[in-house]
């Protein structure tokens, strides 16, 4: 008898684990999430890429479109313009945001909570709104026109000013967080070694937050590079890539060229995304578990300077909003400065009128409810269920992609994908549903990460325990995971709502006359010269987002009171 003739003993055969009912359900749901992200993120982007290397008839022509683009001096100039405003805008934004965040985090000036809230005000408005304010202030009829010494606001100056306002809160948030991660002991050691304040700043403070600053630089650069609202309103003849895409697609129906510019817009975003991931990985090890959190001590001169700076910046931020608000209630700037609410009578101006606003509300509510459900369930399945490791990793990657994709690019890729006649999903094109789907995808990443962070704080063994108690995982999801993560869930829903209210870039390619949104209406009314109406609609959006934020604060307070017994810090 030879060894080979022996049967393999039963015990050493590989075990094929049976899934059971729970496993079946969780894996099919995981597959659903994967399919959803493939359909709404990955495949549309692929359609864009394909379009950029095709001619009008759909034949593959390699990089010919790109060559044609760079051969056109007017188009190629846009690239230079885009870089100019992005670089200058980034430098100014980061400088202001750093000082502001430093004052919030490292000084003892009064009113830090209030100043932090004010810094976030620009997030409530579409980026069109600061641009409108700039026109009221410095435009041809502007009240402060003389301050520009004869230069025109229409062009790089206006774009940069508007973009700084628009990008400021993003930079403050990132730098604020990185400044929070400081170890008191390092400062004590530096003091013991007799380092002066300047030396301490350059050897302790700056190295401690350099990753945050780098990350903020990239985020701000990408925001400005790809923003469409500000240059659309105050760009004048100064073309940038974002307005080029719009002109190529909406103005000339040149989809191939639009795709080419879309690909160009993707480059810095993808680059900054990669750098950011790298930076975040290194940031983790910076603060050890035994670090003592930094606490600022009062310092009269420093606190006074910080306060003065924050007051000045806050005044500008609120001032910009106030100007738009004023513009919206003034009869006919600057000739008739009487007050009126007539500008809010949108039904007079536009066939959609207030309908656009209600469309926005419907879209924002649907996005908040459906988006939050998909994101949270998706994050839960990725984080808490077992099996199919590769698909799990693929879902996580697909969920990260939207962060690197500017809205214009995503909107454009939706045209290419959903408007294709062969696509069975074609019926979605020009419906409210596609606006919701697009907005969910557009802001997916931040929501996904918020959900993951909350879920990671739950004990990893809840699912194991409930399986041992014969309770299916979805019951534990409802009874434990959702209630415990409720603050994060509310956070996600509100984030979706506010962004759905304010977004312009992606949906500008996808709305129809029946599904026009408030933010689009701001754009159209400005286009047709009804600046006051545009400002009025913009202010309506701001008021709505602000109200929702307020609602969130109240909800969270109520929730905290109700769950005080079991929620511990």
């Amino acid at each position: 008898m030879t060894l080979a003739a022996l049967p393999v003993p039963a015990a050493s055969r590989p075990v094929r684990a049976r899934l059971g009912r729970d496993g079946m359900i969780s894996l099919s749901m995981l597959a659903l999430v994967a399919a959803y992200l493939a359909l709404t993120v990955v495949i549309p982007l692929y359609a864009l890429l394909r379009k950029s290397v095709q001619d009008k008839d759909g034949a593959f022509i390699g990089i010919a479109n790109f060559e044609r683009y760079f051969a056109d001096p007017a188009l190629a100039e846009s690239i230079g313009n885009t870089f100019t405003v992005s670089i200058i805008g980034t430098v100014i934004t980061i400088a202001l945001a750093f000082i502001y965040a430093y004052a919030l985090q490292r000084s003892c000036m009064p009113g830090r909570g209030l100043f932090k809230a004010i810094a976030l005000v620009p997030l409530l408005a579409p980026s069109l709104l600061p641009a409108l304010s700039l026109i009221y202030l410095f435009g041809n009829q502007g009240m402060l026109k003389s301050w520009l010494f004869g230069y025109s606001i229409y062009g790089p100056i206006g774009i940069i000013m508007g973009e700084v306002f628009y990008a400021f809160p993003h930079a403050v948030l990132i730098i604020f967080t990185s400044l929070a991660m400081a170890d008191q002991r390092l400062y004590e050691a530096a003091t013991a070694l007799r380092a002066g304040p300047a030396r301490m700043f350059f050897t302790v403070t700056l190295p401690g937050c350099r990753y945050g600053v780098v990350s903020a630089c990239f985020v701000v650069f990408t925001l400005i590079f790809t923003d469409f609202g500000v240059p659309k309103v105050v760009g004048g003849q100064y073309d940038v890539l974002a307005t080029d895409v719009y002109k190529q697609v909406i103005g000339q129906f040149n989809f191939q060229m639009g795709a080419v510019v879309g690909m160009l817009l993707l480059i810095p975003a993808v680059l900054s995304f990669a750098v950011d991931r790298l930076v975040q990985r290194r940031q983790v090890a910076l603060l050890s578990a035994r670090a003592v959190p930094f606490e600022a001590k009062p310092h009269a001169l420093r606190d006074a300077v910080c306060l003065a700076f924050c007051v000045a910046v806050s005044a500008i931020l609120l001032g910009m909003l106030a100007v738009a608000g004023m513009g919206s209630v003034i009869r006919y700037w600057p000739y008739d400065m009487g007050l009126t609410l007539a500008n809010y009578d949108f039904n007079n101006i536009d066939t959609n009128g207030w309908g656009a606003y209600w469309n926005s509300i419907v879209m924002a509510c649907a996005t908040a409810v459906i988006g939050t459900a998909i994101v949270f369930a998706g994050a839960y399945l990725v984080e808490k269920t077992r099996g199919l490791g590769r698909m799990r990793a693929a879902i996580h990657f697909a969920a990260m992609v939207p962060l690197a994709v500017p809205g214009l690019v995503l909107g454009l890729s939706y045209i290419f994908f959903f408007n294709a006649r062969a696509n069975p999903l074609n019926f979605l094109y020009l419906t409210m549903a596609i606006l919701v789907i697009n907005t969910i995808a557009h802001f997916y990443t931040v929501c996904h990460l918020t959900a993951l962070t909350a879920l990671k704080q739950l004990d990893a063994e809840f699912e194991a325990v409930s399986a041992s108690l014969k309770v299916p995982f979805y019951k534990t999801f409802w009874r434990v995971s959702v209630p415990v993560c409720l603050p994060a869930i509310i956070d996600i829903a509100i984030y979706y709502f506010v962004n759905a209210m304010t977004t312009v870039s992606a949906v500008v390619f996808l709305y129809s006359s029946d599904t026009k949104l408030a933010s689009i209406s701001v754009l159209n009314m400005d286009d047709s010269g009804n600046t006051a109406n545009a400002a009025a609609m913009g202010m309506t959006i701001v008021a709505t987002s602000a109200a929702v934020r307020l609602l969130q604060a109240l909800l969270l307070r109520g929730l905290n009171a109700r769950t005080q017994a079991w929620r511990r810090r």
Binding site: A10, V15, R16, S466, A467, K475, W566
Partner: protein, 359 residues
């Protein structure tokens, strides 16, 4: 007809587990009898938790079979197996009360409410937490949380109780107390129990049998006394308790040469003369009193250092050939014999206490 001779309750046969290229378990076979408390003991990364999770079905083994109560459970998902589990983190649901945590599994079995709440009350009484039933987990101490987790794991009267380092998150006093409580509970319910721990004291005091693991294989299975008195391998000898490792060579089947001195050992060692070995001896087995004449393995040693450890002293002894031996002497012996640093004393390394492992 459950008797010690009956078929084992849990049969683990040739279980292997691969994580990518890493072999976490390598051909592990083990039988566990009904009602037994077995400890999986070993350093972190030895595979003890992997084996527990394979038994629970949380991470199913790559190869091999597991039978529980005569049923092949090798490929079953956790929900179709019969076990209760307590994790190191307890994994109590934070947003529901103690009573509802304990009754979590009862609610879905379709048992009627009155029966379920009676069972919860019974379980809470069992772990002595009757008056805490309406509190939330965060309002309890670590030890109380641990008992809630235990009650929850026992709620469905599982045939097998799995405890994954259940005591290591607690401070020393609570740990010692809970050790006895768990043990008493286990004896009372006679539930077959597997306890994973890296704490040898826990294993020695609680276990009916200890399974010592290292690098994904079982090094030894035995009663606590077996493991401590007759460690099967050098790893077990080193991992459990303190042990002198004295480099020596075989000089005969029952004779060792240790730096110019010959030592006898009681057991015959199946190694050719001249093979390098370690002669191992627990510090407390070094004899210093009542050394009558004609004792084998008597040595004259110098006392190099003494460490006072309360009820006993730990002495560092050196032989003429500069071999170091650690010995524990009772406070009595030290006082009576006047042992102090610098003194030369006579000690005996008892042949029946010497363990020999190939080097």
């Amino acid at each position: 007809m459950p008797s010690p001779m009956a078929a084992p309750y849990l049969r683990i046969e040739h279980v292997g587990k691969l994580f990518g290229g890493f072999r976490a378990l390598n051909d592990v076979s083990l039988n566990i009898n009904e009602g037994e408390l077995v400890c999986f003991l070993g350093p972190s990364g030895c595979g003890k938790t992997t084996l527990l999770r394979a038994i629970a079905g949380l991470d199913v083994q790559t190869t091999g079979a597991i039978h529980q109560a005569g049923r092949d459970i090798s490929a079953l998902p956790p929900s179709e197996r019969d076990f209760g589990i307590v994790f190191q983190s307890y994994a109590l649901f934070p947003n529901i009360t103690v009573a509802r945590n304990v009754g979590y599994g009862l609610a879905s079995t379709g048992a009627d409410r009155a029966k379920a709440s009676a069972r919860v009350a019974e379980l809470l009484a069992l772990v002595g937490l009757t008056d805490q039933s309406d509190k939330y987990p965060a309002q309890l101490s670590g030890g109380q949380q641990q008992r809630v987790a235990l009650a929850r794991a026992l709620a469905l009267s599982p045939g097998l109780l799995l405890l994954d380092e259940p005591l290591s998150a607690l401070d020393a006093r609570v740990r010692a107390h809970l050790r006895h409580e768990i043990l008493a509970l286990q004896r009372k319910l006679k539930v077959t129990t597997i306890l994973v721990t890296h704490d040898q004291e826990e294993a020695l005091t609680m276990a009916d049998r200890i399974v010592v693991m290292n690098h994904g294989v079982i090094e030894q299975v035995g009663t606590p006394e077996d493991i401590y008195r007759r460690p099967a391998t050098a790893f077990v000898a080193d991992f459990v308790g303190r042990m002198n490792f004295l480099p020596a060579e075989m000089a005969g089947p029952k004779r060792l040469a240790l730096a110019g001195v010959f030592l006898d050992c009681a057991e015959a060692i199946d190694l050719p003369a001249g093979s390098p070995v370690n002669a191992c001896l627990r510090p407390e087995d070094v004899m210093v009193r009542d050394l009558g004449l004609g004792h084998a393995n008597a040595l004259d040693v110098g006392v190099a250092a003494m460490e006072f450890l309360g009820s006993f002293y730990r002495a560092r002894l050196t032989t003429a050939a500069a071999v170091e031996i650690t010995a524990d002497f009772s406070a009595n012996a030290v006082r009576d014999l006047g042992i102090e640093v610098g003194a030369t004393i006579k000690v005996v390394l008892p042949p029946d206490r010497l363990r020999v492992y190939p080097r």
